[in-house]
Structures are given as C-alpha cells and as structure tokens.
Amino acid sequence: MATTSIAQLAQDLRARRVSAAELVQSALAAAQAGAALNAFISLDTERAMLRARSADAALAAGNAPALAGIPFVHKDIFCTNGLRTTCGSRMLEQFVPPYDATVVERLDAAGAVALGKANMDEFAMGSSNENSAFGPARNPWDPERVPGGSSGGSAAAVAAGIVPFATGTDTGGSIRQPAAFCGVTGMKPSYGRVSRYGMIAYASSLDCAGVLARSAQDCAHAFAAIAGHDPRDATSVDVGTSDYVAALSTTLKGIRIGVAREYFGAGVEDGVGAAVRAALREMEKLGATLVDVSLPHASLAIPAYYVIAPAEASSNLARYDGVRYGHRCADPKSLEDLYTRSRSEGFGAEVQRRILVGTYALSAGYYDAYYLRAQRARRVIADDFGAAFEHVDLIAGPTAPTVAFKLGEKSADPLAMYAADVNTVAVNLAGLPAISLPAGLSGRLPVGLQLIAPAFAEARLLAAGHQLQQSTDFHTYTPGAAA
C-alpha cells in the first residue's frame, strides 16, 4: 500500500483484491514499525478495525461510500467522540470529547478509517513539531530533522507511507510547511471552505482544516469529503463546491502563473530556489505562462501574523482554566492559584509565550498600536493578492525558505523559527487557498513549491498540481529511495 494512490486503493477494494481490514491492519502495523517517528499521539486500533470491517460489509453490499476502507490519520486537533484529543498539550492529555468535529463526521460518512491521532505542535503553535507535549515527531527523510509543523505527525505519517492521507490544520503554514519538509502534497483551503466546528481553536480568523497526501489527486479525493458549508460554524461559507476529482483533468494550457519576486528573497536557500524554479519550468512546458509579479507588502506578513494569531490565541486559550476540564493543578490554595498553576503546568513554553504576546497586544493602550495596525497590514496584504490576481491565475514560490532543519536547531530562537513561515502566513491573512507540491530535492531533502489561488479556487490548485504530477515524478520520491 505504501505508495498506492487512493483511486487505486478504492478500485482494489471494490474489486475485492484487498479488504479494508487488510489495508487497515497493514497501516496499523506500519504505524507500529514506524514508532520511532513519533508521528502518532494516540492509536485507535480497536475502533479502526471495527470500522474497517463495516467498510468491508458496505463494499461487499455494493453501497460503499467514496473512501470506504481507506486508512488515514487525524491531526490530534480534531475532536473525536470517545477518543482523547490532546491538541499536543499536557493541558488536554486526558480530554475525551463527547462529540466529533465536522471534519471527523464527514470522513466517517465517506467511509475512511481513522487509525488514530497524529502528533502536532501544542495547540498548533510551531513550525517544527518540537512544541508537542508528547515529544517531537521526526522527519522520515532524516530522523535527526524536524518534519515541520504544526501538522508534523500528519506529514510524517504520509511521507513514511503509513497512510495515504492525513488531515491537518493550517493557521500560518501548518499544512504546507510540513508537506514541503516531508515531500508530500498538502492543501490549505480557503478560509470558510471547511468547517472549524470541533477543531480546537488556535487563531480563529486564520485556522483552516485541510489535507496532506502523496499527490494532488489523493488530496482531491480527501478534500472532496470534508469541503462544504456547515451551519455549526458561523464563519463557514456557503459557496458551492466543485467536483474536485473531475476538475483534475483541467490542463495548464493558458494558465498564468505569477512568480512572486518577494518569495525568493534573501532567506531562501539556493537549492530551494533552484528546485522551485525547475518545477515551474516543468509547468511552463505543460502550457502555463510564467509572469513576474510583486506582492509589495509581503514583509508585513510575519509581524502582522505574530500579533493577530497570538491575540486571538490569548482569548481562545482562556477556557483552559482548570475549572471544568483539562489539567488542574494539585491542591489549589485559591482561585488565583488554581488558574496560575493549572495554566503554568498545562501549557508549554511556546504557548505561554504567545498568550503573553497576545494579551499584551490587546491591552488597553497597546491595542491600536499592535492589534489594529496588524489588521490594517492584513488588509493591505490581501489587497496585494487581489491586485496580482487581476493578472494571473496562480501565484507561485517556495513553500518554505529552507529544507527541513535539525531538531533543536532553532528551538532556542523563536524569531528564527517564525521566519520559517515567511512565505506561508500571508496566505492565511488573506484567507486564500494554497497547495504545497513536492518540487524535487535540495541535497537529500525535499523542497516544496507553493501555489496560491484566489478564494474558493481550490479546484484550480488541485488541477495544477495534478497536471504537474502527471508529467513529473517529484511526488513519488520516498525517503528510503532518495535520489
């Protein structure tokens, strides 16, 4: 199964060449074998096998839904009824939700079989997975390196061939950057396209649920299951979805790709820039036109993001107070003591840092200087994209400025870590969809090409990725067989 596409697996299952139980069993075995990657926080073996058997029954009866029997893993940020959901935090180590997130419900309804919950940076805050309370996940290409974050476990599990796809979330690059670091395809949809209900909030105006898989085509299959309006999320948008799988056949002919000057700036490693330009030349060969574009306010994205996201986080994480659920300190002496110790013990350093930054940015006397200015920067950044999309259909650049870095390399320097998000955060600030596609290697490590589309044009992204992947083999590189 390790490299078989979802479409092929679905055919094999329907032809009874393989059973869902066999697929799920072998995925669980691969998860065990890959335990050193620390890609999983929880495995849900028993229920996975039960679901596999009911998928087999549906397949035998001929009424199986699209993803029946396809194994996958959820980022541990999606609430799963009856299965603990930690969000990578000590705070929620014992938290068992009494409900499913909409994304969980929809993938269940599509018949996909969740093996368990993937490792992640605590509360999705991080770019390396080193902020997980359950230890860092590791990059299958080099276990001394980070898989990226925050959806590091999801990316590692897909890259290691354990599952054909995984769910992830992306607030500032948390799907795309780990996809790039692990050599897989990851798509962050438009804000509002996928319900946030039951997805534990980090920064509500930026958080997006999406998918990581081995190809754009596999992403299309998984994304089709989760996209669409949900009345339980007031920010979910009621804009019609497309047949994302059928749309994959749209060619690149006549597609104008804007190559964003600012995304090839000083911090971008030569090998990364070269790989991305080479991939873009492949797209040109397939009929796309490359156009030079500028996003003049790109440099505002990191500072704006690191005000807005922590501000929202400081409020979103106030509910973890030790009163109703989650970690509570032993023997509190007073209400103040209960709050202080529960939160100091329950939250890791990066989460505490962002809560402090966010609280400061929202404080009386600082609100205008930080939060309001960041919101103005956000509008300007969105306007840059709007102006660029008057001339091009897609905007391209490297997903991350570097390849996967070593564990511990940046953990002492938060600002260096934040810089890893330089090309991804603007997309969240503008609410746009973007995809990271494998674009070959720099040295022995994968490089990601990021394509950005106008809001709700996910089909265009998936098709562009698929067309590239039809005529190149970057996405088929696997850690073991690195070229």
């Binding site: 509500s204 007031a234 409020s315 106030a318 509910r319 009163v323 209400l335 609100y367």
Partner: protein, 479 residues
C-alpha cells in the same frame, strides 16, 4: 433648590425571551437542575463554536424600532476577556464598538405630569454568565452553567436622569416597553430584568460630570430608588465634607438600605475587547427591519394617546390602562364588545377588576373573569337589567366561579323592575302608606324624595330600576 445636581445613567439588562441561548441550542427556561441546560458550547468545550440566535436579533431590532433608534446594518460581536469560574470561555461575547441599536429616545412620563425624553445611547446583544453557588457545598464553590449564554439586551441610557424618581420612572417605562414588545418577560425575581446605575453629583449649574460610582445588579424598582437615593446623599455628604468620590463599583445592601464598595475601579479591569473572530458581523437588511416593523404592536405611548384623543378617556385612565400590554388588551377586548362605552369599561378594568386581581395576586392574563364575560355583565347594566351597584355583586359571584352574568342574575333574582306598571303599583302603595310625608313633600320638603325612593326599593327588594323609579316618583308626587 439644592446646591447639587445628581446625574444618573442606567444600564438595564433585559433577558430576551427566546427559546434557546444566544449562541447555542440549549434551553433558557428558568429553574432547571444545575448544569442540565448547558450544552458543549455553553461549557466551552474545545472546538465548539457560537452560532447566533436569529430570534434574539429580531427582538433587538424590535426594541430599536420602538425607541426610534438606528439599527446597524452590520453590528459586531466582541469578546470581553476576563477570568471567572462561571465564565466558561474566559470571555463574554458582547457588542462593543458597533452595537445593533444606537441613538434612540424614549419618552418617560413622570408623576408630576412632565414627560422626559430620555436618550438611549445604545442597546446591544450579549450573553449572560453562569452562576457561582457559594453556599451549596462545604468549602467549595459550585458552578451552574444553565444561565451561561442566555441572551441579554443591555440598554444603556445617557446620563440624563437627575433623581432617583426619574431613574425609576425611566426603568418602569423600559420595563413596560420590553414586556409590551414581547421581547422580555420582565420577571425581576428571576433576574430577567435588572439594572446597574451610574450615579454622580455635580454642583448645580455645572456642566462637568462628577466622578461616578456604579451600583451593580439591582433587581427591584424599590431597591433602585433606595440605592440611588442613598448614593446621592452619600456623595453629597462626602463632597460637602471636602472628600472626593472614588470611581468604584458598589453593591446595594437591601437589608440596611445602603450601598457599599465592591471593588475599586482605580486599577480598572482591562477587558481586552476585540472583535470575535468566530462571528461574522451581524447583518440586518432593510427587509429584516421591514418584517419586524410589520409585526410591531401599537406602542404604549401611541395607544395611550389614542385612548385620550379618540376615546376621550382621562389622561390618568389612559396611562394606567397602558401600564402593561395585557391590561390594555383586556380593555381592547371589552371595547370590541361595547365600542361606545370606553369610560365604563375603563372604570371597571381599573376598578373592580384591578382590585380583584390584586387581592388574588393574579396577572390580568389569568383573570377569572374574561373580558367578554365582563363586557356581557356591563351590557346588562346599560340595558337596565341590573343596576351598577348590583353589577358589583354579580361580578363578585362571577369571580367566585358561579357562572356568567345572566346565570347569576337569574339565579339570584336580581333583575331590576323596569316594568313601569309594576313599579307604578309599588309607588302607589308607598304613597298610600305615608300620606303625611306626601303632604309634606308637596308642601315643599324636596328632601323627602329620597325617603320615598328608599321605601319603594324596600318594597321591591332593591330590584327597582333607580332612574325609572326616580322619574315615576317625581311624576306621581306632583299629584
């Protein structure tokens, strides 16, 4: 005139009478077992999201229209951040910079006959917090989240009230209005209608506002009046002693009729308000407004004016009839049955009916005598079947459940003698019995007429039609 002018503004919290909470589907019914009406959203479990209640929006629009205010096409929900155990999310969803209702006015009638036009700065939607139960568990505080998320409309007046009496008159007018509109049940015991009062005093003639104190969570008209009166006196006394007023929150102590400081606002809490990213702007279209307007009842002030101008009722009657909608509707229902008897109907609603309801401690909606039944009784009075005096007895019997007016009149033989033949015979008998008095009367002693009325009534066991009796007597006594 006093050397000091009090300045008062009220923040009234009216709980909106929706079926469910402002952002979740949980019920808001009062009195359920603790935490049985708290959904995952109300408990603020991770990943849950607020979804605005459309009914609450409609009720806020209705209030805005009733006070002739601006309704924002897009109002913004904001988060008010603070930690408290009965505040599950660590923030309250409220409206801050852009409320749904702004810049309204409400005419308020004062007891002295003046009408105050009170400016209402804003009315915004917000959710209530839960309740901390400090006296249920030994050495622990219980948390009941049934109330968490209950929809409130916070109605903020400008600081334009200048006495406790004005403040209470304003509060009563708002209370009448929200119940009239059907947007709040107004139940003050259950906390559905409560208020915070901001009070300051300044030297008479000064434009500059003095330092204010805020009296929190007062839930009866009497207490609001007492608390404000106390606070005004306290502040004047302090200022006259050369002290200054601390800006602070105070609590009203009903047992001792005084206010005491709750917490100082000098290091004022910083609520870190910001727009709630989980909630898009609350949109209200012109169509939405038109729909609510079409459903809006005739407002109390308009109806009061109509009772005076079109029905010719005295001001006092009209005002009293419009104190609550149910009373006014009762009156309207009677009027439908006897359109030309507004004054008679008003007299009975404000007289016998009000007294009976009061004695039984019942709201008019639960009156034991329906408007139709009361109208039928009054019709018998107008037809001369019974006298007004007898009607009061019949009403008493109706209230006691003895049946409708006609049944009781028949059963008790209360029908007036309006048959002029029978009446004439009775009068003749009386005149024959008292020849001396007849002679005296005819000799000029007019006062004796009442004596003959009394004697004839006695002979007819009170069933003589008084007007007819009078007329016949006068005629026969002329000789």
């Amino acid at each position: 005139m006093s050397a000091w002018q009090p300045v008062i503004g009220l923040e009234i919290h009216a709980q909106l009478s929706t079926a469910s909470k402002l952002f979740s589907g949980a019920s808001i019914a009062y009195g359920a077992e603790p935490n049985t009406q708290a959904s995952a959203v109300d408990v603020a479990l991770p990943g849950t999201l607020p979804v605005p209640n459309r009914a609450a929006r409609g009720k806020a629009i209705a209030f805005g229209l009733a006070i002739d205010a601006q309704i924002a096409a897009h109002s913004i929900f904001a988060r008010k951040n603070y930690f408290y155990p009965d505040l599950p999310k660590g923030y309250q969803i409220s409206q801050y910079e852009l409320p749904i209702v702004s810049a309204g006015t409400l005419p308020v009638r004062l007891d002295d006959g003046r009408t105050l036009k009170v400016e209402i700065q804003r009315a915004h939607l917000e959710e209530d917090a839960g309740k901390s139960l400090h006296d249920v568990f030994h050495s622990a505080t219980g948390i009941d989240l049934n109330r968490a998320g209950t929809p409130l409309l916070e109605i903020v007046s400008a600081p334009v009230l200048h006495s406790a009496a004005e403040a209470v008159a304003y509060m009563r007018t708002v209370h009448t209005l929200v119940r009239w509109l059907g947007i709040c049940d107004g139940n003050m015991q259950e906390g559905s209608f409560r208020c915070d009062a901001n009070v300051s005093v300044r030297p008479a003639g000064s434009e500059k506002l003095g330092t204010r104190t805020e009296i929190k969570n007062v839930n009866s008209f009497r207490f609001v009046e007492k608390a404000i009166e106390y606070e005004i006196e306290r502040q004047i006394r302090a200022l006259e002693n050369g002290e200054s007023i601390r800006q602070e929150t105070r609590l009203y102590d009903a047992a001792h009729h005084r206010t005491r400081p709750m917490r100082s606002k000098e290091d004022a809490d910083d609520y870190r308000y910001f727009p709630d990213p989980d909630l898009p702007p609350l949109a209200v279209s012109a169509d939405d407004i038109a729909r609510v307007r079409a459903q809006l009842p005739e407002l109390p002030e308009a109806r009061r004016a109509r009772y005076v101008d079109a029905l010719g009722l005295p001001e006092a009657d009209a005002t009293q009839l419009c104190v609550d909608k149910a009373t006014a509707e009762y009156f309207e229902a009677m009027l439908a049955a006897m359109p030309n008897e507004a004054k008679l109907c008003a007299n009975w609603v404000l007289g016998e009916l009000a007294a009976a309801l009061n004695a039984a401690a019942l709201p008019v909606e639960q009156s034991r005598v329906s408007a139709a039944a009361l109208a039928a009784l009054l019709a018998r009075v107008r037809e001369g079947v019974i006298s007004g005096k007898t009607a009061k007895d019949v009403f008493g019997a109706m209230w006691a459940g003895e049946g409708d007016a006609d049944t009781i009149i028949a059963a008790r033989g209360l029908r007036q003698i309006s048959d002029s033949g029978a009446l004439a015979a009775a009068i003749d008998a009386v005149l024959a019995e008292f020849p001396k008095q007849v002679a005296d009367y005819r000799g000029g002693n007019d006062k004796l007429l009442q004596f003959f009325v009394g004697q004839t009534m006695k002979r007819t066991r009170g069933q003589a039609n008084p007007q007819q009796l009078n007329a016949l007597l006068v005629e026969k006594l002329k000789g």
